[in-house]
Amino acid sequence: MNTFLKHSIAIIGGWVCLCISAATLAADGQLKLPNFDGLADKASESVAITLDPALLGLATRFLDPAKPDEAAAREAVKGIKGIYVRSYKFDEDFAYPKADVEMVRKQLTAPGWQQLVQVKSRKEQQNVDIYILVEQERANGLAIIASEPREFTIVNIVGSVDMRKLHELEGQFGIPKLELEQKKQQ
């Protein structure tokens, strides 16, 4: 086998591996989040959370089942493999790179991702998009992109997402409890 052929096989092999790993990354619901490290200095408040399966498992072990909010959290994260949150608040309008947020949004056009809710408020200039990754009729990932002039948040949950359990967390951790059923009845 000549050298040219060997090199060609190596390059093609490399590309195949790269494509397979990219497809796997997309398929498991994990988004490629841009590096927002530089924004933390500019932001008045910042939250950057990366909980991979190992850390998530460790965190779950430290939740106290005797406390109702922590017991609910333990239930909510069952089946979840990773949680990635980036949230920044600024003192001035649009201090964050919109292109980076759009780059994340673009990844949600990949097959499997479905837009669940889109909220656009012109008055408050608030956009909230909720996407789920549907695989074999099950939600295997969740993405939330929320942006306002002075704030943006990206949430990516990887794994089997139970929206009902996440919704049950309302009223815990200082989240106001919504009385959806009552409102519907009215």
């Binding site: 909980l51 430290f62 959290a73 994260v77 949150v85 809710v117 408020s121 909230v128 929320a146 967390l169």
Partner: protein, 111 residues
């Protein structure tokens, strides 16, 4: 013959004065060279000290590792609760928008 032999023995075993400084040399050598028992005790003590320091290091290491793991776990727990708080907050915004009664046409769209 027996007298000769006796004489030879006497000659051989006659008391001879040691060279000058012999005693000092012997005493110095005794002081420098530990005795067998002293050497054994020293070896035991060294082994014991080594084992004790290895055991102490292992206990200290395990304690520090457990402490580090606990800190890591508490930090991960804090991050998990914070992540769920942020997620819930954003879901809340969406739920509120979806359930808002009769939104003005130019205010809300696409919920």
């Amino acid at each position: 013959m027996s007298k000769d032999f006796e004489q030879q023995l006497r000659d051989a075993l006659r008391p001879i004065d040691p060279e000058e400084g012999f005693e000092q040399r012997v005493m110095a050598r005794i002081a420098n060279e530990p005795t067998r028992s002293r050497r054994r005790i020293t070896r035991w003590a060294a082994s014991l000290a080594l084992a004790a320091s290895v055991g102490f290091a292992a206990i200290l290491g395990a304690h520090q590792w457990r402490e580090h793991r606990e800190q890591q776990g508490l930090e991960a727990r804090r991050q998990l609760l914070e992540a769920l708080r942020v997620t819930g907050e954003k879901l809340d915004v969406a739920y509120q928008a979806v359930n808002r009664e009769a939104p003005p046409a130019d205010d809300e769209s696409g919920a």
